[in-house]
Symmetry: C2
Subunit: 413 residues, 2 copies
Amino acid sequence: MSSKVSPLAPTNVPTLPELAGVRLATAAAGIRYKNRTDVLLVALDPGTSVAGVFTTSKCPSAPVEWCRDNLKGGTARVLVVNSGNANAFTGKTGRKATTLTASIAAKATGCKPAEVFLASTGVIGEPLDATKFEGVLGTLAETAQPGGWLDAAKAIMTTDTFPKVATKTVKLGKAKVTINGMAKGAGMIAPDMATMLSFIFTDAPLSASCLQALLKAGVADTFNAVTIDGDTSTSDTLLAFATGAAAKNGAPKISRASDPRLTAFVKAFNAVLADLAEQVARDGEGARKLVEIIVDGAVSKASARKIALSIANSPLVKTAIAGEDANWGRVVMAVGKAGEPADRDKLSIAFNGIRVAKAGARDPSYDEKEVSAAMKQPEIQIKVGLGLGKGRDRVLTCDLTKEYVAINGDYRS
Amino acid sequence: MSSKVSPLAPTNVPTLPELAGVRLATAAAGIRYKNRTDVLLVALDPGTSVAGVFTTSKCPSAPVEWCRDNLKGGTARVLVVNSGNANAFTGKTGRKATTLTASIAAKATGCKPAEVFLASTGVIGEPLDATKFEGVLGTLAETAQPGGWLDAAKAIMTTDTFPKVATKTVKLGKAKVTINGMAKGAGMIAPDMATMLSFIFTDAPLSASCLQALLKAGVADTFNAVTIDGDTSTSDTLLAFATGAAAKNGAPKISRASDPRLTAFVKAFNAVLADLAEQVARDGEGARKLVEIIVDGAVSKASARKIALSIANSPLVKTAIAGEDANWGRVVMAVGKAGEPADRDKLSIAFNGIRVAKAGARDPSYDEKEVSAAMKQPEIQIKVGLGLGKGRDRVLTCDLTKEYVAINGDYRS
């Protein structure tokens, strides 16, 4: 954990309301860190639906494989998250550790191992000593409370400089339902000491398949549109839980994501995902600038996404922004290397609304001083117009600073 | 230009021999830099064949488009290279600048514009004032000499910290033929102040199509297997010229790359390409370590290449190496994100010959101290065994240091 909070951290941290059917507890199990919590247990009432999306890595961690398997059942009773050790690339030992953790958690909460969901984040390649959960999870299950969301978000941090939470309340039918979420992630994503984990909870009565469809659709323009360094963790995990407790207050039970009664809910659900995803970018390792990249005029949205990610992942674009340099030449380079349709002579580029290039050359009205002043802002928008079609997309990232190199070059040694 | 030479610079710089049919001259035209040469003219005897490979960028520079067009003719009489301005993303002005430069060069050397080849490197987006070549190129054509290869290599440098030259002499038939080469490139490749340019010359009598086939095959495991930061320049240019002058000494005229008489020549030609490509990696911006990545046991060579490049371009792997940390967890991450077939439980990883991971977990014999000592070497080899098939490949890169961020974040301002 870094001792210095990111200058891009949100200034208003919401207090998350209690959420019927969800109880939380944290503990310091001494997995790796000293003097801090490192285990989170979330107890979920019977009937809770679950959905999940995971890393696309071909070398996923043991907990990712565990969750993928259990997702088939569609119901969850307990979530256990630990920081300090990712239980990744730990071979058979890793599988044994997930099995043991799940059996301890199942016993502690009186459910089946198939209803236990697990996530681990921290060092990889080190065996996770799951016997450390013995006793701890039992106590946590007993002491779990409906509040304490911020403490929960703190317990799952690694290189994060601030806890990440978000909440929305919205009407479903005539009942009020709540969506609470938390996330951790700072490098995108070092398997060594970071990883993106996020957990979303709602009391809306949604079926597992409905929740899965909402989650899959929701991540496309939120978590999947954020990149810190283009590196993909072995452990990225996003789980969503719907306790259904709001049914008691008259919320309708919904089984299809296309149900028109869900319109307001979907908007709020996606807003929570977007809020958390942006917080991950704001906590990018060593970040001093939040960077929004908008590409329009592409031949399709998918093409715009590829170009936006090419810009967002370019070390040369990211270092230029760290240097507060409106180096549009590097943006052209990143557009060119994306391999997507682009016509140099139709390109236009703007930094924070100031157009610096158009029609394949420097904008004649380009004033270096004006742009230099704009580049000193903590939030930078790069807008690229391709002039080819109607494809548009947006990606968030951060700058690449010497601190990123220091954090990632100096950590283990 | 950096004032400090890369610690990875070769200690033995060869003196390139004269090469019949090639004359060189350099000048300080004041394109951007002060007190240094920035224009190179290479005069080529009539009958010189030419071949080229270029950036895959969708936004190539004006000189790249100029060369691509002229390559169809197959013959070259003069090469003009300038540093300080890349003439990229300069719109119609850029095309006019190439046309004017070529017409000045053609007049100076008494050839057709279609036999003029151009390359520019430096700042992009700034119009290149080609009138600066007026007079200069005429003088250069008059004073061009068969020697001065190192001066030529110096004139084309931008952020390079040392000039890059290589040479081989080999028998073709019963005649001795020479291959001389030079390159520039330090970021891979910032369009702002770097780009990969390389020029190879031989007196072997090879047809243009033969030379093109040799060049295309030769770059696959040399220049195309080197990455500094995964960024692709708008200006990358590799041209090869064969004057054919060795025919006078009895070298056979060869028109097909598959000609068995070429075996020794091809080996030497590829060695020159490999030597120059390695020098580019050794001069990677801010580099303190040369990193060789070998992937074997992949399902194919192409799959091994993709995985090797994923490792080579990972900021987290590169920063770990800068920190002298044998962080094999990040190598696993990079293997996993490549999207190629990989079985976590069959993976093995070694740093400088010391195996740190095998069969999907930490090697039990792994000694942190031994590996830590190995990581202090200036040359680091990462070997990844996938255990799936016979596909093998090798890629060169360098580490990612705070100096890289400084060079690319502080440059323009």
